[in-house]
């Protein structure tokens, strides 16, 4: 096993330096990229490096960062803004928090570099209030940088002014969408609006605004120091550099990983992740959180990059990877993510507000065993309509978990509807817990642990579960020492 599959650029300092100590950051050539850019180059030079590096937005969309900066730089305005999107909200994603808690200065430096490139003097961090330690360390980093003359007026005598303030989000998923985020920063409801105008032309308070994700920023000082050729030599043709993923779910090595673009799914799951625990079979991985889709055991040879994931009906998203094994029901998984987006929709546009609810209801109907064959067509039609008509990224991607699981696990949907069975044994209404008479020795353990007293039988005689009363909690299965109780 090659242990060195990972390459750490964005997380290069996480776990190595003291995040609350500016000296530690300066010791790893911190602020050198900023200092060089503002004293020895022009804003156009910076944008040129960013364009050539091929860096694309790590928040999910994958828009080329240098191009975006170029748009904002080309606009004339009395004030421009740099915004760092730290509103990380995907279930199972925590890479932004890790970067902010482990290496806050790299993002501070990168925001200032961006400010110089586009002609902005104010940076704003939109961060969720649920990240208190990340906030504390980021605030300290900003204060220390200001005290050291690396933020503020006339930085290093260059004539460039830049300072950063924080705005706290209340933890709404939709505020991670850049237009929703801007509305929220302005004190309004976090409701997205249609683009154009793009924020690079008219964003925060109607001024040219660059919104980049934490991980995107964390890459930038490294690119500026080591050069665009170095960065563009890593990754695939259209996706350069690395991506940080949060590996979670049914995986042995739960953790944060940073891998070069183009690594295969199999390398991530089996070589870095160590496969599924307890020798279970790997079934699928949800990439891109609630906006993404499922890649399956059939996709282990797919090289991971922006375009391949989209071709597979998923998306990069911010980089959550929730791994599922043979015990996960894909209809239930789709329902889980729909439950999340249904709660998080802002309600502004109809397809998202009502569509998510109806999608969820259809999935619920199927998992309860009340599905009819026509529901499959309804699901597909509704999902496609929402995808085509919702206002913002949240709504447009919300049906992805449904569409992708329907495409790759159609047999599971059919089993729920036609056979009234849940093949993975998850959907309680579709399964029975029964005692295998040949294996039961009548020890009474199951009867004693049953919370609803639905197991009958005498000592040393075969026990029987009353199906009408059973709540399918599975407590008896865990308790039985003879593997005599099974789900079916």
């Amino acid at each position: 096993m090659d242990l060195k599959k990972q390459l750490r650029i964005a997380t290069r300092n996480c776990g190595f330096i003291d995040p609350e100590c500016i000296e530690d950051y300066i010791g790893v050539r911190g602020y050198e990229a900023l200092a060089t850019a503002i004293t020895a180059g022009t804003p156009a030079d910076v944008i040129d490096v960013m364009k050539k590096s091929g860096l694309r937005g790590r928040g999910g969309g994958g828009f080329p960062t240098g191009t975006k900066w170029g748009f904002a730089a080309a606009n004339t305005a009395d004030q421009k803004y740099v915004v760092m999107n730290a509103d990380e909200g995907d279930p199972g994603a925590f890479m932004d928090r890790a970067v902010l808690e482990g290496d806050p200065h790299s993002t501070v430096e990168a925001m200032a570099i961006c400010g110089y490139a586009i002609g902005a003097s104010i940076g704003v961090v939109y961060i969720r209030a649920e990240y208190p330690l990340a906030i504390k360390r980021l605030v300290k980093a900003i204060d220390d940088a200001r005290a050291s003359g690396l933020l503020g007026k006339n930085i290093l005598g260059s004539g460039f002014d830049f300072d950063i303030e924080l705005k706290y989000g209340a933890g709404a998923f939709v505020c991670g969408e850049e237009t929703g985020l801007i509305r929220s920063m302005e004190g309004q409801r976090g409701e997205p609006y249609t683009k154009p105008p793009f924020p690079a032309n008219s964003g925060y308070w109607g001024k040219p605004t660059i919104v980049n994700n934490v991980e995107t920023f964390a890459n930038i000082p490294a690119i500026m120091v080591k050069g665009s050729d170095w960065f563009s030599s890593i990754g695939t043709e259209k996706s350069k550099g690395t991506k940080v993923f949060a590996l979670a779910g049914k995986i042995v090595n739960v953790g944060l990983i940073e891998v070069p673009m183009g690594i295969t799914l199999g390398e991530i799951i089996f070589e870095i992740g160590g496969g599924c625990p307890d020798g279970k079979k790997f079934k699928a991985v949800q990439t891109g959180g609630p906006s993404g889709g499922a890649l399956t055991f059939k996709d282990v040879d797919v090289p991971i990059d922006y375009d391949n994931l989209i071709a597979k009906g998923s998306m990069m998203g911010s980089g959550g990877m929730v791994v599922m094994d043979e015990d996960n029901c894909m209809v239930d998984v789709a329902k889980f993510f729909l439950d999340f987006t249904m709660d998080e929709t802002c309600g502004k546009c109809t397809p998202c507000r009502i569509g998510s609810k109806r999608l969820y209801e259809l999935l619920e109907k199927i998992t309860l065993g009340n599905g009819v064959p026509a529901d499959l067509d309804k699901l597909k039609m509704l999902a496609t309509t929402i995808k085509d008509t919702a206002l913002c990224g949240l709504g447009q991607t919300m049906p992805n978990p449904v569409l992708s699981t329907m495409a790759t696990f159609a047999d599971e949907y059919r089993a729920h509807i036609y056979d009234k069975k849940c093949p993975s044994g998850v959907c309680a209404n579709l399964l029975e817990i029964v005692i295998v008479p040949e294996k039961c020795i009548g020890c009474t353990l199951c009867a004693r642990v049953c919370p609803v007293n639905c197991i009958a039988g005498k000592v040393k005689e075969v026990h029987v579960i009353d199906q009408a009363a059973c709540i399918k909690c599975g407590a008896c299965i865990d308790k039985c020492k003879f593997e005599a109780i099974v789900k079916q």
Binding site: G15, E32, L156, V225, G255
Partner: protein, 127 residues
């Protein structure tokens, strides 16, 4: 730190910090405890306190304790990287109060590896 006013000054400070770090790595045991939200939740602060206390008890004076952020190994938190003088850091995981004390007694004192060692599975880009 005083206000930095030029790129030359920044580079000078950078050089001084690098020299200080190199000197510490040569002569001292550097104990680096991961203290991100998740590491703290799984007991990182207890481990740090126990190691400091045990080092004092064992009379080990040439230790430099530091904290850092996420070490990326959620599966083995709390994690501690220990670099003996002049040597590469070894990463220990799944520590608790007792494990932390044992680590000081065995590894810090005698270089004897004890507990769970996590293999390094990445290449770090250093600037």
């Amino acid at each position: 730190m005083p206000k930095i006013t030029s790129i030359a000054e920044l580079k000078k400070i950078q050089g001084e910090i690098k020299a200080k770090k190199a000197a510490a790595a040569k002569d001292k045991i550097v104990v680096n405890v991961s203290l991100a939200t998740c590491s703290i939740a799984s007991g990182g602060k207890t481990v740090l306190a126990a190691m400091k206390d045990e080092a004092a008890k064992q009379g080990i004076n040439n230790v430099e304790f530091m904290m850092s952020g996420c070490m990326t190994y959620c599966h083995s938190e709390p994690t501690v990287a220990v670099a003996l003088p002049g040597k590469d850091a070894v990463l220990f995981g799944n520590l608790d109060e007792a494990g932390a004390r044992l680590l000081v007694e065995k590894y810090l004192k005698n270089g004897e590896v004890v507990g769970k060692v996590i293999p390094i599975n990445y290449t770090r880009v250093e600037l």
